[in-house]
Amino acid sequence: MSQRRRRIFNAVLFAFSGALAAFGVYLIYLHLNASFYDLLLDLVSGIRNQRLFYAILLLIFAIYPALAFSRSKPVKERKTVAVVSCYGCDYREVRDFQKGDYVFKKLGGCSACDSEQYISAIYSIPISRVEEKEEAL
C-alpha cells in the first residue's frame, strides 16, 4: 500500500473508530442518567443493561482497529565490530568494522610488544550494547 493510500485508510479508520466510541460514550451516558420511565422499563426489559452491553461492544470495536493495525516494535539496530588482538601480549581492542577487514587479517606490529596484531573476531552486537561499552570506557 502506498504512503498516501495508507494515510487515507488510517484517517477513515480513525474517523470510524471515533464515531463508534462517541456513540458508545453516549450509551453509557444514557445508562448512568436513566429517567424514571427507563428505570421502570428496565424492570421488565433490562434496557439499561442492554445499553451498557452495546456501549462496551462499541468501545471494543472502536479500540480493536487501533490494536490490530498498531505498528510492531522497531527492530533493534545492530553494529558490526572487529576485535583486534595481539599474538604476543594481552592487547585487545574492539573497534567498528571497516571495509576490507576479515578474521585473522594481520594488522602489523603491536604498540605494546614486538609481536603482530591481528583481527581475532568480527561479530555484530546491538547498538545499545556498543553505547554501553563506550560509556564504560
Binding site: 462496551i56 578474521v103 552486537i125
Partner: protein, 379 residues
C-alpha cells in the same frame, strides 16, 4: 451481561430495538451470503499485497546495491545495469527425478554450469575486481536474485488467488507470509554483509577451521594449497596427530566443493585416514540458544546434497568414521552478519574438535577436519 444480550428484539427502547434488528440482520446476512470469507480474503490479500510491496522494494534495492558494487569494485567499461537485469531472473531447471539414477551427478553438472556462467558474467562486469571481490559480488548478486525470485513467486500467488477468488489458496499464502518474510529479511540483511565482506552465520564452520589453523600453526610452518575448486587444505600437527584442515578459500564469499576435497584426500591417503571431523552451522530449534554446540555422526554439510553424497559414498567405501560438530543458528542468522554468540560458539566448537581428536584418535593418526560454510570475511 449475557442475559440482556439474549433479549434479542426484546426491548421497547427504539434505539436498542433498531440496533438489535440491525445486528441480527447483519449476522444472518454474513452467515448465509459467505461474506465472512470474502471479508477475510480481502484482509489476507491486503496483507499479502503489503508483503509484495516490501519484497519489490527489497528486490529493487538488491539490484541497485549489486550494480553499485560492480561500479565501485569492478570499474566496468560499459553500464552494467542491463546485464544485471538480464541475470536477475536467471533460472536453473532441476534435473528429472523420475529416473533417479545419477540425479546428483546431473544436478552437480548443472550447478557447475550455472556457477561458471555467473563467474563469467561477474568477470565481464567487474574486470578490475580481484578474486575475493568478484566472489563477494557474486554473493551479493545471488542474494538480490533470491529476493527477486521471492517477489515474483508471491506476486504470482497473489494474482492467482485474487483472480480465482480461492479462499484456501489465499489462506495458504497468508499463513506462509511470516516464514517468507523471515527468509526475505535474511537475504536483505545479507546484502549489506556481502557488500562489505562481513562474516555471516553460515561461515561458522569455516571460522572454526580458521581458528584451528591459527592455533595449530603457531609453532610450525603449515602448508596451504588449493585441493579442490575454491577449497584449501592446510596440513598441520596437533598432539602428534597429522591434522588436514579443509575449508573454502577466504576472505571472499565462497563455499567451494569441500566434498570433493575430502574424497580426494581419502583416496590419496591409501587408507591412512583415521577419522573425518566435519563442522558446520546447523538450524536450531526455536527456543534454543544461538551458538550452542551439538555433536553427532554423519556428513555435516548443507546445500543441494551433491557434496554430502560424495562424502557419504567415500567414507562408507573406506569405512572411515565421520563425526559432526554443529553450531546451532537460526535461518536469519545464517545470512546476516555473525552474532557475538555464534562467534563465541565457534571458539567453543574448536575446543570440542580438539577434544574429539585427542579422545578418538591415537598418536600418529591422520585426521581430516573440514570446516564447512561460506568463507566471506574469514581469512
Amino acid at each position: 451481561m449475557i442475559l440482556p444480550s439474549l433479549q434479542v428484539l426484546g426491548s421497547s427502547d427504539p434505539l436498542i430495538l433498531i440496533m438489535n434488528i440491525l445486528i441480527f440482520v447483519f449476522f444472518i446476512f454474513m452467515i448465509f451470503s459467505g461474506l465472512i470469507l470474502k471479508v477475510q480474503s480481502m484482509q489476507y490479500l491486503a496483507q499479502i499485497r503489503e508483503v509484495i510491496t516490501q519484497l519489490e522494494k527489497w528486490s529493487d534495492e538488491g539490484k541497485s546495491v549489486t550494480i553499485k558494487m560492480i561500479r565501485e569494485l569492478g570499474k566496468p567499461q560499459r553500464d552494467p545495469t542491463s546485464l544485471v537485469e538480464d541475470y536477475m531472473e536467471f533460472v536453473l531447471i532441476e534435473p528429472v527425478e523420475r529416473d533417479p539414477s545419477g540425479v546428483l551427478k546431473r544436478l552437480e553438472h548443472l550447478l557447475d554450469v550455472r556457477k561458471s556462467r555467473f563467474d563469467d558474467v561477474v568477470a565481464q562486469l567487474a574486470p578490475a575486481a580481484d578474486r575475493d571481490q568478484r566472489a563477494n559480488i557474486e554473493m551479493t548478486f545471488e542474494a538480490a536474485l533470491a529476493l527477486r525470485q521471492m517477489f515474483l513467486v508471491i506476486r504470482h500467488l497473489y494474482f492467482m488467488g485474487k483472480e480465482t477468488n480461492n479462499y484456501a489458496m489465499i489462506v495458504s499464502v497468508q499463513v506462509a507470509l511470516s516464514f517468507i518474510m523471515k527468509y526475505a529479511k535474511a537475504y536483505y540483511s545479507a546484502l549489506k554483509a556481502f557488500t562489505e565482506g562481513q562474516p555471516i552465520g553460515d561461515g561458522t564452520g569455516a571460522l572454526v577451521a580458521s581458528i584451528l589453523i591459527n592455533e595449530f600453526s603457531k609453532n610450525i610452518n603449515a602448508e596451504t594449497s588449493e585441493i579442490a575448486e575454491d577449497v584449501s587444505l592446510t596440513a598441520t600437527v596437533f598432539e602428534d596427530r597429522n591434522v588436514l584442515i579443509v575449508r573454502a578459500i577466504g576472505p571472499g564469499g565462497r563455499v567451494g566443493k569441500p566434498g570433493e576435497a575430502i574424497v580426494n584426500l581419502i583416496k590419496e591417503s591409501n587408507g591412512s585416514i583415521a577419522r573425518v571431523i566435519m563442522i558446520d552451522a546447523g538450524l536450531k530449534f526455536e527456543g534454543e540458544k544461538s551458538g550452542k554446540i551439538v555433536e553427532g555422526v554423519g556428513a555435516a554439510i548443507g546445500g543441494p546434497e551433491v557434496e554430502k553424497f560424495k562424502i557419504e559414498q567415500e567414507v562408507t567405501s573406506q569405512r572411515v568414521p565421520v563425526d559432526a560438530v554443529i553450531i546451532k543458528i537460526s535461518i536469519e542468522e545464517a545470512l546476516t552478519p555473525m552474532l557475538k554468540e555464534i562467534s563465541d560458539g565457534a571458539h567453543k566448537a574448536a575446543k570440542r574438535v580438539k577434544n574429539i581428536i585427542l579422545e578418538r584418535t591415537k598418536s600418529g593418526d591422520t585426521v581430516i577436519v573440514a570446516g564447512i560454510g561460506n568463507c566471506i570475511g574469514i581469512g
